[in-house]
């Protein structure tokens, strides 16, 4: 009986060995797949960097001071990644809203909306400071 079963046991053992190695490969492959997901964009950093880029040469303050909302919208569209929707509102230092028109490139169709708050100081010899509220979302 034992000798008759020995062959079957060898088959079961070999099967188990294959199963163990195969499961190791399966787990590893899953880890790799989950890692290949596109990294989540840190929208807050992206938004802050975009505003800082515009502010680095005084462009942001210049557009706001002149009420040039069209140019500001176009400039933001250029510095933000493609597929990002935004809505920008500008207030003065006493939180009175300045921007009458919506500085936006479309409606939000994502529930993952990020909010960025930024203080902009104009470089104009006649000083002005503004509080900028920027809402951002990745278009789905």
């Amino acid at each position: 009986m034992r000798r008759e079963n020995r062959g079957q046991i060898r088959v079961i053992e070999a099967f188990l060995a294959v199963l163990i190695i195969f499961s190791a490969f399966t787990v590893s492959a899953n880890l790799t797949v989950s890692q290949n997901r596109p990294p989540r964009i840190d929208l807050a950093s992206v938004g802050t960097e975009a505003l800082m880029t515009l502010d680095s040469d005084g462009t942001l303050g210049y557009y706001i001071a002149n009420g040039n909302w069209t140019a500001l919208r176009e400039a933001l569209s250029l510095v933000l990644p493609i597929g990002t929707t935004f809505n920008l509102t500008v207030y003065d230092e006493y939180t009175q809203r300045i921007s009458e028109a919506a500085v936006s490139n479309g409606g939000f169709n994502s529930q993952d909306i990020c909010f960025v708050e930024y203080v902009c100081a104009s470089r104009n010899p006649v000083f002005s400071s503004y509080i900028v509220h920027l809402e951002l979302a990745v278009a789905s």
Binding site: A17, I20, F25, A44, M52, E93, C120, A121, S122
Partner: protein
Amino acid sequence: MRSRKETLKRNSSGQLLIVAALAIALLISSTTTYVYEVTRVTDNAPSSPASNLALAMKQTTRNAMISSLANASNGGAISVLASNLAELSEAVSHLSQFGICSLAGTILNESGYASGVRLEWGASGLGASSAYANFTLQVHGEASKMTMRFQINVTTSIAINGSYVTLGSGEKNVSLICYVGNDGLPSLAESLRVFYYDAGNWTQAGALNGLAVKDRGDGTYSVSFTVAVADPVQVSVQAIDSQGIFVRADITCPAS
């Protein structure tokens, strides 16, 4: 005895196979997990929102300093820096994203600075317009508490050097080299005006004097013009840099 050992060996060879398989599986899994963890830490390294605010605030305060210096150097009161920083602090106090924010600016009143502004427009061929302030940014929020201190110094400088040659007509051909810099880097002069001292007045050199200004593209400008003045030939160069900051330097040109 020998055949018994061989039998035992043969019987346990399947178990060895499983143990070896387990060891290989363990190696594969641990290696993959290690690689995954190492790369995951790099990918998900979060940028602190408060650090974003700190970077943005440095940018904002620099702009405020540039605005104040542009105002003060163009004839405004030097107290403009203090009032502008007070206005900026007011705006910062309304930020609420990370909690309660406060920005305190302390203007420098030593080392040639008065109310944080230094306007040194000397007769030795060097001139500088500078603003300096120390800042303390504080954020008190549920998620982040932060205190950051930093200094902002905005300086626009000019250096001129030159000489003159007396022409056969008795007029003097003045050649100058002007360097305009901003925070130690070459700067573009939006406006460059040249004056010479004649009969107790500063007179602007222009087309009548054959004024020629050549931009060398590295913050350096070659200037030449002809004047009919008695010795000494005193020249003043006034520049406004690309940020709107005014700076001036005077020099007495020697004969070459």
